[in-house]
Symmetry: C2
Subunit: 320 residues, 2 copies
């Protein structure tokens, strides 16, 4: 008899729920809910379970866009708190886990289909035990590292998007000052997120007195149509991305590769070759060439966080 788990990916806007059979997400079980119409995750999971009431779930894992500590977490951009006891009540699964969404993405790395990964920079081959860094750029920014430890894959949580925005040029520093004047602080995710690309564009508009407030999709569309200010915004975003990825690579040494995930990662990748991304990535003085060994890859699978939850639960189950 297959082992059934329930997995969910709770973003700032939507929640995806699915069933995993023996560690594999069942594609036709995936269901998407708008958070706006619901009071809590419990309500969504209860509704989902009602549609699958013949199934007995042994485990549940939920990936959330927010900090997790001691099995409990709250969403950064939504007033929901999620803990293991409420997950068990909503799903009937006795074994419940809350993961940060980037932790879930990092657990997915070993299980991704080759078709859902694209090379951005090839790097060097590494041993199967090498660490993977996953960087998520979407509504916010965060990262997580998957380490192959003797007892299994270890993925510690992180909140790296709230670290100080690094700047390398006078223009970038002026941009950071602009962010500080608007938000009181210039964090990485104020530049590297959907909002962040909007802020990059706002900064160029602000300098020439144009109205601000374009969404990231509008900036990409304008750049595709040849608009210089939109292209400059994409270049600023890309250069900062190069700097930040280089800093994270030095801090975590992901010899197994850097995996970019999230909507903004997919949207920015086609532009990287036309920008200062690579120069910024290598701008680490005598440690610049050291960075060449780290491959950078794009994950195009929308459901990687669900795959990661399923993979995490399966590894736990096999270990016990």
């Amino acid at each position: 008899m297959p082992h059934h788990s329930i997995v969910a990916d709770v973003g700032g806007t939507n929640t995806r729920v699915a069933i995993a059979l023996d560690g594999q997400v069942a594609p036709d079980s995936i269901q998407k809910f708008a958070n706006a119409g619901h009071e809590s995750l419990t309500e969504i999971l209860t509704a989902y379970r009602k549609d699958h009431d013949v199934v007995k779930f042994e485990q549940v894992a939920v990936a959330i866009a927010g900090p997790v500590r001691d099995g409990q977490g709250c969403l950064t951009n939504l007033d929901w708190t999620i803990d293991c006891a409420s997950l068990t009540r909503a799903t009937g699964a006795p074994d419940a886990h809350v993961l940060n969404d980037l932790q879930a993405q990092a657990h997915a790395v070993g299980s991704l289909a080759p078709a859902s990964v694209e090379d951005i920079q090839t790097g060097q081959n590494a041993s199967p035990e090498a660490a993977h860094l996953v960087v998520g750029i979407g509504t916010g920014f965060n990262s997580a590292v998957a380490y192959q430890a003797p007892g299994g894959t270890l993925v510690p949580p992180a909140e790296s998007g709230h670290a100080t925005l690094p700047v390398s040029t006078a223009d970038q520093f002026a941009f950071a000052e602009y962010l500080r004047s608007r938000f009181g602080h210039a964090a990485i995710e104020d530049a590297l997120s959907g909002r962040g690309l909007g802020h990059c564009h706002d900064w160029f508009c602000h300098q020439v007195g144009h109205p601000i407030g374009a969404k990231s999709a509008q900036v990409f569309a304008a750049a595709a149509a040849g608009d210089q200010m939109a292209k400059d915004s994409i270049n600023l975003f890309s250069c900062i991305l190069g700097t930040v990825l280089g800093d994270l690579a030095l801090t975590t040494l992901p010899f197994g590769g850097i995996y970019l995930v999230g909507g903004m990662s997919r949207a920015i990748t086609p532009w990287l070759g036309q920008t200062g991304f690579e120069a910024a990535w290598q701008d680490k003085g005598r440690f610049g060439p050291f960075l060449d060994q780290f491959p950078i890859r794009l994950v195009t699978d929308d459901y990687a966080a669900l795959t990661g939850c399923a993979s995490f639960l399966e590894k736990l189950r096999v270990a016990h």
Copy 2:
């Protein structure tokens, strides 16, 4: 019969070698060698072993100030390459390991005597499984995190000192530009190291046309004697330290505490209360209060890297 290991801590200038008995460093076995008089670590270890030729060593672990990959490493500031095979030849120990020195320091955290740890900031209590971040400030800058994984303590390597120097004010940006003009890049360790405090002082001297080139010990002495430029240099160092520790805390979430090690950590700690350190540490926008939960501690034990090597070997031995 006790289990004998040989452990060593190879810095840029000196190498310390000791014997560990059942995972404990024997204090009277510690011997210090100046690297300058020796061709290689092999030569030092061979000399040390000659003095202890009645002992049969089962294991050897060496902590080095430089990047380590797949059991081999090279010193960042000295032309020595160190691998497991040469350690076995020099010591006779069949089980050989090369660690980055910060990895070794991180393995020491659980074995430090209470007398060799001082509170800088108390933080909140955490579970025994919580991660520890060790930050080394001395000749260079680096960090490592100790994670309690199901299979034992995992301490991944890092080279965080070569990441981009974060700046939060116009003065700090001007300082970073000064570093870039001198060294081609402004890395964290160009500010946060012995040399780094010298660079902070150089920057203030440069602005008023004074000669540059004071050593960190001279800056501390001048500040103690009331010299304003020396005090400003210490303040600049401390503010950048606050920013960098906050960034590393967000990237690694060390709920078990941040442990500062190295000569510069000890030298700067008494000054932190008179500087902008705490304000810089908390300057993370809405994530500022989140940082209050992380304790910050100073490690005053000079031999913590040796303790860490011994602890690492003992954990391996017990696991097998």
